[in-house]
């Protein structure tokens, strides 16, 4: 079983945990909670602090190595219980989980996700459901290999550029307020993208994630952490 599937097998468990946490969350406001008043984070700037970690920690046991996944996100409160968020992403890495004829695939790309985020904990500011429109671009490099049992394998380079995709994403988040300024968000996301062009199947698509075996319609899900700093 690929290491990515082992990792993602934990996601349904996390989702259950997250849902239970949100539903059975603090129902009675305590004096500390009232003093915190989390819903008054008017504007916050966040950064993803988890996505690059498995690649560094697990190394060759993870499906993507040497990965740098940088995701700054801006959250702006429009009214009580409603935020708009804008996320920019950049990813660079090497996928080492082979498909039929491609052993390694270096990917580099960017993505933009924007959309509303609604408080689903009766405006207490602990749990949010978000929907975003997504646009992403990617380029790939690597070597392909066609096996030759009698005379030897043929290896050659490939390069694919200008690979665009668009789609949507939903997020389910739990906010943990560490202090007056700092907040940690635990997110579960599901992303659906459609590629506009490209002949190769991407192992990893920026903005989506692990997409081995998919071609034009890309579907991915995952869980991550964002650290936010309150600007206003």
């Amino acid at each position: 079983m690929p290491s990515s599937l082992r990792t993602f097998g934990l996601i349904p468990l996390l989702l259950c945990g997250l849902s239970i946490h949100l539903c059975a969350g603090q129902s009675t406001p305590t004096p500390d909670t009232v003093a915190q008043r989390p819903y008054l984070h008017q504007l916050s700037l966040g950064l993803d602090v988890f996505k690059s970690v498995p690649s560094v920690v697990l190394g060759k046991y993870y499906f993507i190595t040497n990965a740098a996944i940088i995701e700054p996100v801006l959250r702006h409160r429009t009214r009580r219980g409603h935020y708009n968020q804008l996320l920019l992403g950049y990813v660079r890495g090497t996928s080492i989980e082979p498909s039929e004829t491609i052993a390694r695939q270096q990917v580099q790309g960017w993505y933009l996700k924007a959309g509303p985020d609604w408080d689903i904990t009766r405006r207490r500011g602990y749990g949010y459901f978000g929907l975003s429109a997504v646009v992403a671009g990617a380029s790939y490099r690597g070597t392909f290999r066609i096996p030759g049992r009698t005379f030897g394998d043929y290896e050659g380079p490939f390069r694919e550029r200008g690979n665009l995709a668009w789609g949507g994403e939903f997020t389910l988040a739990r906010n943990f307020y560490l202090s007056d300024r700092w907040m940690l968000r635990w997110l579960f996301r599901g992303t659906v993208l459609r590629r506009t062009q490209g002949e190769l199947r991407p192992h990893y698509y920026p903005g989506a994630g692990y997409t081995l075996g998919m071609y034009r319609r890309l579907f991915s899900y995952g869980s991550t952490l964002q650290l936010h700093y309150r600007l206003r």
Binding site: R149, T150, G152
Partner: protein, 149 residues
Amino acid sequence: MPKPILLLALLSLALSGCFRDCGWQEEPLVHIEYSGPKTFRSVSALGARDLTAFEPLPAPKPGSDSSYHRTSYSFPLSLLADSTTYLFFSDTRVDTLTIHYQRYFYPKRGCDFVAKIRANWAKQVHSSTFKEVTVEFYDYYPKVSIKDF
């Protein structure tokens, strides 16, 4: 029950169509039809690292008279060069057959990379010690006819 069998039949048809659409994702084969009096003990190729594809040789079939017989072979072509030379060992001599071609590697939707063999018209298509050789390039494989009498 007829329904699962029908489903299996349809699936087999669909899958066979899919394989044909991808083309070669391994060494392409060349089909060689030999007509002549010789019986070959073994066949090999220059640069071959593994001779499993050349064993066992198919049995010859009798021709329209006793002076010759016919044998059909399917041998792999090298992906590492633009020609492959086969050596046919009979009791009295060794015959050679060299086929020249062009190799194409390209990405194909849903298949990653595939290989394709085409004729190389800039070069002599074949050279051989057999008396008469014809090479035809079809969509998926070349076909060689050897008339050795």
